[in-house]
Symmetry: C2
Subunit: 472 residues, 2 copies
Amino acid sequence: MWATFFRRSFSTTPAASPVIYSHRSGAKQKKKGNASALKTPRGTRDFLDENAHRKSTIRTIEDVFKCYGGTELDTPVYELTDVLLGKYGGEANKLVYDLVENDGERCSLRYDLTVPFARYLAMNRVSKMRRYQIGKVYRREKPVMTKGRYCEFHQCDFDIAGVEEPMLPDAECLSIVDEVVKKLDLGSFTTRVNHRSLLEAVLLQCGVPVEAIQSVCCSIDKLDKEPWKKVSEELRLQNNIPSSVVSELERFITFEGENTDMIKLFREKVGGPQATASIQEMEVLFDYCNAFGVNVTFDPSLARGLDYYTGMIFETVLEDGACGSIAAGGRYDNLVHSLTSETRKPFSVPCVGLSIGIERIFSLLEQKKKNTKEAVADVFVASPQKSLLLERISVWKKLRDAGIKAQFERRNKSKFLDQLQFCEANDVKLAVIIGEQESKEGVLKLRNVATREETIVPEGSLIDEIQKRLVD
Amino acid sequence: MWATFFRRSFSTTPAASPVIYSHRSGAKQKKKGNASALKTPRGTRDFLDENAHRKSTIRTIEDVFKCYGGTELDTPVYELTDVLLGKYGGEANKLVYDLVENDGERCSLRYDLTVPFARYLAMNRVSKMRRYQIGKVYRREKPVMTKGRYCEFHQCDFDIAGVEEPMLPDAECLSIVDEVVKKLDLGSFTTRVNHRSLLEAVLLQCGVPVEAIQSVCCSIDKLDKEPWKKVSEELRLQNNIPSSVVSELERFITFEGENTDMIKLFREKVGGPQATASIQEMEVLFDYCNAFGVNVTFDPSLARGLDYYTGMIFETVLEDGACGSIAAGGRYDNLVHSLTSETRKPFSVPCVGLSIGIERIFSLLEQKKKNTKEAVADVFVASPQKSLLLERISVWKKLRDAGIKAQFERRNKSKFLDQLQFCEANDVKLAVIIGEQESKEGVLKLRNVATREETIVPEGSLIDEIQKRLVD
């Protein structure tokens, strides 16, 4: 039933001003009328990583993933079409890119990283695993670049497969997101959690007919952007839910309070074994979150990603409201089984996972001007005369061999002043200056770029002298 | 003409015993008769990075690339089909994977990283750039897993675009490969270099008809695996080259000697402005190589990647002969222009580049057992009693917040001995032991895993004590 929801699709509110990754020249891609104009395919873009922020962000996330026991898995960019078919719900299934058939094999580009992970588990009959994966996924949507909606974009997932202490892996997922957002210093944020089974039980108890649950969830999910008044109207007019049921729903869905109050309300007011079990799971989850030092808010209106989810679901939103969710996830205990159910030996593994919206994070960091341009070099090998290029290379090579981060002037004829200005503009600490006269005498000049002091150094002690100065 | 050569295609000699990346359980993918069996698409595989060697290899390569001024560029996995068409030569063009057309846009998976780079330069009219890219490329070939031939595999490229000191960028490419192979400690290796224009001039001078140049190159290129006798037979019988021409060819192609001898021979024996200019370029190249401390061998039989190449070409081979080339590249001055020649404003940039066969390197490192399993943690939080899971998490959280690499026992009921054995088996340095009695008294036990010594530590000074011990 929960068919039109996508697992882990981030809400489409755009980041305040989406960053266009263009070349350093600042030249934007020109629109051209003719068919032979050069461009990237619709909805894709080039990423030029001039600044170190993309790589350092990913490194930070990977370090957290590893501390939670994660192993990296890299799956093919395309899967057999049969593996992907029917896993994403009606609308989403249409958004899968197909490859032209190859020797009778139907393949499609991956739509997310979750189904490939489930395929890996099912194919290798792996019953326990913590894996992370950072990779591109593909959606044949109408791209809206200004809203940050692309056909090719990154996902950054961590998933825990296997039977562990009940709700501990769920809490670990929340703890991972908490750590990542704090480590990346993205500002205040809220993590809202809910339970898919509980939500279903609540809707049924309030009198929502089984066949309307999906559309009611769709409406309820809008509560993070719209007031209850508007949502309740939609429920009455579009979903034909009787007013009595809507006001019954209001009691549960819009209830705000401490997590313990919520637990109490649900325990008192929602009956049946499904609800009871879910409520208990949420209690255990909150205990673990407490131990992990993670703040979460029980939000009974959260209804995301229902095609996969079977248990806890969550979404993390930055409080400045500039962009939608930056992380989301939940428990999906039946996906692996659904992949094997047609084979002779069905295989099942419970799973829970999370997805971090790294592209959104890149944009945010770029806006916050947190770009840390990597130092070009510690030492620059320069020369005032032309035709000393080979000498510059030899000296540079010695520095490289000694493990010193160095660059050299690559132009044969280059104004000396330009070379010194390059050093100053790029925060290079030392310049090694090779002159014709000095070269004959077996000495070099070492220049402190900041103070502009120059010292004559014998060639033989150059490395020692530089290493001493770089340490100071 | 040179149509059947692929740029930068590595020779297909397999690595001694190709490594299958399977799950840690060691379970291999089972062959199944039924169509619904789960598998990855033909010629693709999952990579599980249990060991740190893949990542650390890439990090080493990236560090070298950056020291040569490289900026990372990430392009889409697919390009407009028109961009790729006709760039790879007759046979290779058939190996491009097409996507099912999307709103009238014909796209294909990228076949290498060079044409996308040239497209980027042409599209943004970039006249100077040093970029590196590590990514997957796609070839619709018949996969031969045992020979390491896949449909999806990685390429690792560095390219220099723009006008610089003649032959300096070419020498830098050779120096990069030299540094990478030495840094990765892959054993002795040889880098053979040649010049595409010179080779063409030699063939014409020896009397090879223009229309036979392509097939003659094909035969000559086999000289690294077969003796001259066999190649000369092929030239006579298959290519219909007269015996007189073949023996004339032998003089040049099989000549062995110092690079300076080769230069001398070609200068004396091959005429015309094309040959003269190429020979001079090679001389300058050798001077730069000398300054960079890079050994190269002038090999007039090297004939690789001729579809793109316009100048210097090279190939690096490990001497133990276990696998084919692990790096290759060359100069391609016309590719960017060929992409823009149909638009109103043609644009041209000379380029030279290299490609490192990282997958081959991964296999080699795996065989050499150079896998450095990353330490699971420095500290493990254990407890002898069950039901202390929340306490373990709280202590672990404190360690994490202090930046200590820690893990905790995740099972509620776990044998204490198993926990201690885990620490010993995984080289964990310290174990924090939480006991019920100690917990009440506000103290913890700190165990040195190697010496098995245990000390009682007050909770408040745990972090200090651990940090002190980890430094020691």
